[in-house]
């Protein structure tokens, strides 16, 4: 019942206030509903060229330095996230223009694959941007199975942390400790491309606040507060606590797609290659969720998320050069791979990674069943 309530709220389109239904959008925002980025609860599609607007993607921004909570230092007048849309009569923060250069690479056996390297430009900013602004693009990830990942005990995750590669296997998993708003302290991050969010509730409230301009009890101030776009309306929080909790519960209890064609010969070949290449050193196949007496739906289960929820140095090629709590500019969280084989069917594309640059899922034959 609460799941269904959350499902409906997840799809609700917000409009500018005052309005009889779903008021509070903006004044500046990235999108108008949860479902308009997380289409069919799935993976967002990046713009295909410089003329397409951003839809299921956003840009985090900051300047060098560290905020008092240990996180990224806000760009004065812009905050830590760029809103490239606005309600009528209000200035958006800036336009984002993406250009891609396509590069082709070859496997040792001669088969080729291509990677697109994006570059980002900000234009038409409402006030001048300071020098040295760091940008980090973030695609909307799928939103299923998050309650299970949240229910994994911290010790189960830290067991695989090996920040200085003490065991010499070439893999250095590192936990991120990030600001937990309700706890008022830093706790282990699990969600987001840099594991920069500690809980599903905070992730959800953050998306309402920064992505849609909707205030809640977790983030009661508009993202535009202090800027010229601020609405000065006395209507915060704009969604009731029950709606925020229902949406959070919806995401926490959204089931993971069941594996398909697990005994198919091609799939088994992919599985062998996945294992031989040691993909599973970071994309850990299995984990156990902790005992959660208060939340039996996710309690004490063996799950197969194909992630360690830890940060890894992905090198200069993928770096955003923007630190996010303990994650440096080269580090990204291992993305869960469960359900990835359904991207084409559910979302009609095959673009992966934090910025959607990859058009090729390595090991895709194997992952087709996940």
């Amino acid at each position: 019942m609460i799941h269904e309530m959350g499902d409906k709220a997840f799809e609700a389109t917000f409009v500018s206030a005052p309005a009889p239904l779903n008021p509070g959008l903006g004044p500046i925002f990235n999108n108008v509903s949860c479902a308009s980025c997380h289409i069919a609860d799935g993976r967002g599609k990046p713009p295909l060229n410089s003329s397409e607007p951003l839809s299921a993607m956003l840009i985090r921004v900051s300047i060098p330095g560290v905020a008092s909570n240990g996180g990224p230092l806000a760009v004065p007048g812009f905050g830590v996230q760029l809103q490239q849309r606005s309600i009528n009569g209000v200035a958006k923060e800036a336009d984002v223009i993406i250009n891609y250069s396509e590069q082709t690479f070859s496997f040792p056996d001669g088969e080729t694959y291509s990677l697109r390297t994006p570059t980002y430009q900000l234009a038409n900013s409402y006030i001048p941007l300071p020098a040295g602004v760091m940008l980090s693009p973030r695609m909307a990830p799928p939103v299923f199975g998050l309650g299970l990942l949240e229910a994994v005990d911290e010790s189960e995750i830290l067991k695989f942390a090996d920040e200085n590669d003490a065991n010499g296997d070439g893999i250095s998993g590192k936990p991120n400790y990030v600001w937990n708003v309700l706890a008022g302290t830093r706790t282990l991050g699990r969600f987001g491309w840099k594991a920069n969010n500690p809980t599903v509730l905070q992730q959800t409230a953050g998306a309402y606040n920064e992505d849609m301009g909707i205030t809640s009890y977790v983030f009661p101030a508009e993202s535009s507060k202090g800027q010229t776009q601020y609405d000065n309306r006395n209507d915060d929080p704009e969604i009731p606590d029950s709606v925020l909790r229902a949406v959070s519960f919806y995401v926490q209890t959204l089931a993971v797609p069941v594996r398909r064609s697990a005994d198919d010969a091609t799939v088994l070949q992919g599985k062998k290659l996945f294992n031989d290449a040691k993909c599973g050193s970071c994309h850990r196949p299995a984990m156990q969720t902790g005992v959660r007496v208060d939340f039996p739906e996710v309690s004490n289960q063996r799950i197969f998320p194909y992630t360690d929820l830890l940060l890894h140095d992905m090198g200069e090629g993928l770096a955003d050069h923007r630190p996010d709590f303990d994650a440096n500019g080269n580090e990204w969280r291992t993305a869960p791979l469960w359900g990835i084989g359904l991207t084409q069917k559910v979302n009609g594309h095959n673009f992966y990674l934090h910025d959607g640059r990859s058009t090729f899922a390595a090991g895709s034959n194997f992952m087709a069943w996940r």
């Binding site: 409906k8 500018s16 005052p18 069919a40 009569g89 089931a255 559910v346 009609g348 594309h349």
Partner: protein, 349 residues
Amino acid sequence: MQFRFILFSLASVLVLSSCKKDKSNSDDYSSTQILNDFSVNVAQATYNDLASKTEQLHQAITNFTQNQTQANLDNCKSLWKQSRQAWEQSEGFLFGPVATDDIDPRIDTWPVDFNSLDSVLNNQSVYDEAYVNSLEDALKGFHPVEYLLWGVDGNKTIAQFTSRQLDYLEALAANLKTLTQQVASSWTTGNYHNEFANAGNGSQVFTTQHAAFMEMVSAMAGICEEVADGKMEDPLVSQNAMLEESPFAKNSIIDFTNNIKSVENVYLGKYTSQGQSLESFVRANNLSLDGSIKTKISAAITALGNITVPFGQAIFTQQTQVINAQNAIRDLKSVLENDLANLVSQKIQ
């Protein structure tokens, strides 16, 4: 209505536990033919009709902007309703490019953003298709057209149309026409017909025929849930007529009925012409299930017909009829997502 993983997961569990071989040509149907015929006779036929109706709507609105007679206004309203009928009859198969390419929200976002609409009508921009296309989804598609044609109380007079509204209406209708053409061509000249018809046979989207069949079944059950537990439930439970979806034209019950007719169309494989369909498949395997599905479809349509006042009023004065209709639609949903899904999982690989 969005595709939901929960529904899909249940179905997938079923197929793992009950895989059976069935090439099905020995019966009265071919699963390959059913997929092909759904694409041609339902998806393409519905979307082509939608694109043709919105083209006529655009023409009618153009005529009205040039000559504001009552007859021209009535013609616009009539064509809005005809276009709306084709669209609602497509919502029983809301999958493929209409969903993945984000076209659905541009055609049918609810609610309308009245503040932004006012500010657009008061600005100095030149309205054309490209301008409308650049606006937020809550300012384009069916509902802003409906609002501008009927007015907030449903009784707008010709004298109340401003020239800015007329210009905006024409650009809106042009945009709606373009979007519906886009949906139609995604199935016809685009690749989606091949992806669907060749499921399990080289399709990138549907690696098995089972997946394509389940896409249809999930979409049919999905729209039932959307109507009974969303479009009808929200205004009823909160006793708030502002939550109704097509309030200006008072078209909500017709919308709901067309949604159920869309389920029927998918089942029968028919918009105008008919080939092989889920019906052929069910009749070959389980005659009583075929009877049950048809009975529940007509029970749902009848129950909606028993609501005799506009929906925004019925939530106060005909609650029994509203609840009866919701329950009839829930019954239909149940037979689709349980019995029909089970049968598909037993017989289609």
